[in-house]
Symmetry: C2
Subunit: 483 residues, 2 copies
């Protein structure tokens, strides 16, 4: 047997692992199949035993294979066929009467509790962040800044940080300049300015569905009407569906999380992004693009953003480092295209400026190669986590559940049996100190009560596996009690 190792990675062991991974996903190797013996493979390909072992360990960490003592490595799991996939959403535009605001408050408050396994928190846990290096950058910036960072930053934000974000934009097909950007207190803060800049109370905006609850709540708080669009769990909003919506409704703005969306994890294909940008441009409707998760891709390159197809300044591209470096720094940014003056005014009137020291620290952090180095590690960890979570959910949850298959990001979206109310499940899970985000948070409609969002942004561990097992047990019990 001769295999051609053609993974796209630099390292040989990764090339080997990727080749086997593809065979597993394509079901060339089926669950239960034995992988070639290490010794044999080493001999045939003139590759050292330790490199082959490294490749197998890597597949084992991802939960794809298991080693059986005195026997070898066997395929144990294939994420591509198990469990069932979620279908495209079909929002019904019927408003529910649940007090979702109270549910969101409860979920957030519970985050402060000690000893809770926080599947509800869609940020990386500190264990997988470069804390020491970030802290060094912070202390250095406090030392270097005029008046130790006690003075106001420019309204538009720290110049070095903006320069670095602009430099980084080439990774997603962008060609930003520092002056195209305004810094904000995180990505949600950027989105909030965008919505205020381009809408007025009573206007209608169109969003994907399910959609990040923060945007729904914010839009409601400023008096907007919200149209939830059908959304494919792999590719997001279809241009045809959007065209229909634009023809039937007076839509003033769109909001999409185009890469590894929260909560479904879809990643919009590049051609679709281009089509959406052209369509919206034709209708004169601005797009707020939340590209918060774009850097955390599991494939070989970063997906592009809608902004990269924007020729008219019609896309307001928002992002931050809250999902990759330091949520508590509260640093984000927006490239608001032709709305930049409005965004600067809004920032001035709301907050004057954002915190000085963190912006400077991130500016210098991004200027080195450290961010890239950290991201490489983070992607690996999260990819492995996503596979481990998927495997464990397949193992511990009822068979008929459906599950998203994200190609990046932090989160899984689960659809349980129709009769299950995940808010009730949440309350039972919290008794066992397990939190997650109930599906009802992600819509204003009477939907997704049987869905839930799980974050896998923490290191994989026996404790996490136990928590998933308990959670699966609770779901099975609820399944049974209604059967």
């Amino acid at each position: 047997m001769k295999i051609v190792f053609k993974g796209k990675s630099d390292h040989l062991y990764l090339q080997i692992a990727e080749t086997f991974q593809k065979q597993i996903l394509d079901e060339v190797l089926k669950i239960g199949d034995k992988l070639p013996s290490v010794r044999l493979l080493s001999k045939e390909h003139a590759i050292s035993v330790s490199t082959i072992l490294q490749a197998y360990y890597h597949l084992e960490a991802k939960g794809l294979v298991e080693s059986r003592p005195q026997s070898g490595y066997y395929v144990s799991f294939n994420p591509s066929r198990f469990p069932r996939k979620i279908e495209k959403s079909d929002p019904i535009q019927v408003v529910k009467n649940k007090n979702v605001e109270a549910i969101i408050g409860e979920v957030y408050d519970d985050l402060a509790m000690d000893g809770v396994v926080k599947f509800s928190l869609s940020v990386p846990s500190p264990e997988i962040l470069p804390l020491a290096r970030l802290n060094k950058a912070m202390i250095q910036s406090l030392r270097d800044l005029p008046a130790n960072g006690t003075s106001y930053e420019k309204i538009q934000g720290n110049e070095e940080l903006r320069r670095q974000v602009a430099r980084w934009s080439m990774h997603w097909g962008g060609h930003l300049q520092a002056d195209d950007l305004v810094t904000t207190a995180g990505c949600m803060n950027a989105v909030s300015y965008c919505l205020q800049a381009i809408t007025k109370p009573g206007d209608t905006i169109a969003v994907e569905s399910p959609v990040y609850f923060g945007v729904l709540r914010f839009a409601q708080s400023i008096g907007l009407k919200i149209l939830e669009l059908p959304t494919d769990p792999d590719t997001g909003v279809d241009p045809d569906d959007l065209r229909n919506a634009l023809e039937q409704h007076d839509i003033k703005a769109c909001f999409f999380v185009t890469n590894f969306s929260n909560p479904t994890g879809y990643c919009m294909p590049d051609e679709q992004k281009e089509a959406i940008v052209k369509l919206l441009s034709k209708h004169g409707v601005p797009l707020i693009e939340d590209d918060l998760y774009g850097d955390v891709y599991f494939g070989n390159k970063r997906p592009r953003s809608c902004k990269s197809f924007d020729e008219e300044g019609n896309v307001l591209w928002c992002s931050s480092i809250s999902k990759t470096l330091a949520p508590g720094y509260r640093v984000g940014w927006v490239a608001p295209g032709k709305y930049i003056d409005k965004i600067k005014s809004l920032k001035l009137y709301h907050c004057i400026t954002s915190a000085t020291a963190q912006q400077a620290a991130l500016g210098s952090f991004l200027a080195t190669g450290r961010y890239e180095q950290h991201l490489r590690k983070l992607r690996q960890t999260l990819h492995t986590n996503s596979l481990q979570f998927t495997r464990a959910i397949g193992e511990y949850f009822p068979e008929e559940i459906k599950l998203s298959t994200p190609k990046g990001g932090f989160i899984l979206w689960l659809e349980l049996a129709e009769h299950i109310d995940t808010y009730q499940l949440y309350q039972e899970a919290m008794q066992q100190k397990i939190s997650f985000a109930p599906g009802t948070m992600f819509t204003l409609q009477d939907r997704y009560q049987n869905c839930m969002r799980l974050s896998y942004g923490m290191p994989w561990s026996a404790e996490v596996e136990q928590a998933l097992k308990k959670l699966g047990g609770l779901v099975k019990k609820m399944n049974g009690s209604m059967a």
Copy 2:
């Protein structure tokens, strides 16, 4: 001659200085009068020569007396009668058509220029801040915080900081608990949440006039109508005027900077505060109280706040450390009374949380006696500055100008001859690298074009004196050119 020294300060030299200061203000000692000789005073009162000298130096630093070689100390200046005082404003509710937004943008942008004497910036300059101690607190908090401050803070904000702000509230007659407070990204951010929590687009709010431009701009940006009330430059809005306004208009909220207001510097007397709180409570109209400058008083004790008279949770008390410690930290707070849940939701939807490290650093800074110690020094510096500025303005500006007489805070409000446009003056002053805030920024009406705000939050120096001299010269020239 036997004088009874009865100043209220701890130090004997300050008691002596305060006694003479009172005599100067009361015109018992007139400009040109000689103070008792140091030797004589020392002998009569059995006080050391050095203590008497310290008292005279103190008066000299305040610009009240001058030493004449081989002769002694003479009264050189009496701020209580010179120059003329500003009259109560009488807003006319006629909207102007100047592009004030552009003017504000221009003034802010010019702040970034090097080598400009920034009379426009109403924050303390770094030279009078405890930079080293603050920085130490920052570095310590980065070290002590879980995950070095990279994690989200609680939505309500750092607990120790809230506890310290609550403890500090006894200084202004408050009795807050940590749980009564929500932290924000500075005071303007707190005010912005308050306005959003209690109004909806189309509502009318009542404000003092002239009023801090940030509030005007923010209120406009969320679609509010603004009623500018007559405002006394010493005592603020009169309860009778407010009653009339409440009867004639459907006012949904009031906004007042009750202590050392920006820009007129008025401080509302305690009885008046109580009357306003009762009146608003009777009408069910909430009060947003901006108490940003309250800690920077020149008298013997901190003025109370309206919040201290609030029994129904009807006052939303906002403040920050941007005017006393570190504007660039972007830390403020609000005690929103019965609106606390709404404020917490708004903060969550706009920004999720505020920056973690600065909150913790300030919590520990306020827990020691350092804040009190710093404030004592800051008040002294600013009081001296206010007197020096007043003296210099009296010396270099045309005689007929009118000037505020603040009892605290950072700023002077000048009224020039009616025909002078201070925006035109601003442009001429910037040619000489001097900035200030033109009066037109502080109203939505066709008013205050001949007014200007000067900040004295920088160390007094020959350069500052020169800048005031140049500015006075420009005003004199404009006076003359139209005469």
